[in-house]
Homo-oligomer: 159 residues x 3
């Protein structure tokens, strides 16, 4: 019935799920921010990947010289790809983890540590900080996702 | 009980969730299509990234010359990566948005605009269209995801 | 009520959903493993992308020579990107598929074939095996995701 169906969409009322939605939203927005930073560096460094992006700088050779790679642009792009490689597994495994019945306090601990670690990772990458700053922040986020995956597989295991 | 559990999997009966499933399915299939287009250009342009992929063209130097980058292949690959950077956040945030209790009409508006924008983005990238065609279609999709994230965080916020 | 809400998070008790959580967890962990393999090859081949990563090898020119690409590192990175392009759609479409009410046996068949295909794909990429080993394992995983998407769109369709 309609009444029963309505309830099913109130998953968002569950506190663990609300916490998941909040932190997943934050880290996905942080990942999306990398696109804007890439655009900022491409425009200020005048370093583009597509001929049509340089058309406003003139025609022919005068525009062609802006078809190049730039160390700052490439650095942001590596940070963005690293986010895809790490935030996407967090969002996928985190959803299953939130549905696997963890304590709210344990779940919050996982979500908070991951989110802080990935924000630090971005600063470590873009400033850049000397190693092992970036390596450690990466490892912390990785470990949190691994810990959530362990809980998911222990709870759900059905091969 | 079994009866109650069965209901939980009927999320798919909720209209907002059905709309989400439809549009998420469409944009994920569109993203997957990029793999086929990449393969098409790699084969027709004879431009490969792995030595084992060129073995059918002969041995040694005659095959080695096909280990190269090609502008058309690289263009499709950039489009594919841009899809990963934008469609993946849409799918993740869109799921949370669909569970946050939006009006069906508002949800449909978000899903439809995003889907049309990303299909236009692919055409703008592959034809290619002059700027700001690609830039605008990217910005529209980005804004829709941002709008959904705002609704999710406003509804779920629990830090 | 609280009692009703608690039930909503017991999605994990549904057998199809448990199977999905298990296989999605496994393939996401497999994808995450690629980061460790990349790090292993970067360290053993001494091939890095960031100047700060080579600081422990000394200063100036002596460290600069480790800022380079290496065929083994690039191969793992291509495998990792291919995982993102294929495992992410599986995780997204697979979730919707698990909620679309498939038979447990049919769902298990999809999840198992995809998971085996992607593990074989990684071996085919890293060893590397001669073609069409990698191509076939890619096509099998792709077809499974396509088949799930068809079921999702058939069940949920609401444009």
């Amino acid at each position: 019935s309609r009444g029963e169906m309505a309830k099913l969409t109130q998953l968002i009322d569950d506190e663990v799920f609300r916490a998941y939605a909040t932190y997943a939203g934050i880290v996905l927005l942080k990942m999306m921010l990398m696109s804007l930073i890439t655009a900022y560096f491409r425009i200020t460094r005048k370093a583009f990947a597509n001929p049509e992006d340089t058309a406003s700088f003139g025609k022919g050779e005068s525009a062609k010289k802006y078809m190049r790679t730039d160390p700052d642009v490439e650095r942001v792009r590596r940070g963005h790809l690293n986010d895809l490689e790490n935030i996407v597994p967090f969002v996928g495994i985190g959803l299953l983890y939130a549905l696997s019945g963890p304590e709210l306090s344990t779940a919050l601990l996982h979500f908070r540590i991951f989110t802080v670690a990935r924000i630090l990772h971005t600063f470590a990458y873009l400033i850049p900080l000397p190693q092992p700053g970036r390596g450690l922040s990466w490892a912390v986020g990785y470990s949190v996702t691994f810990s959530m995956a362990y809980k998911v597989l222990k709870t759900a295991w059905l091969l």
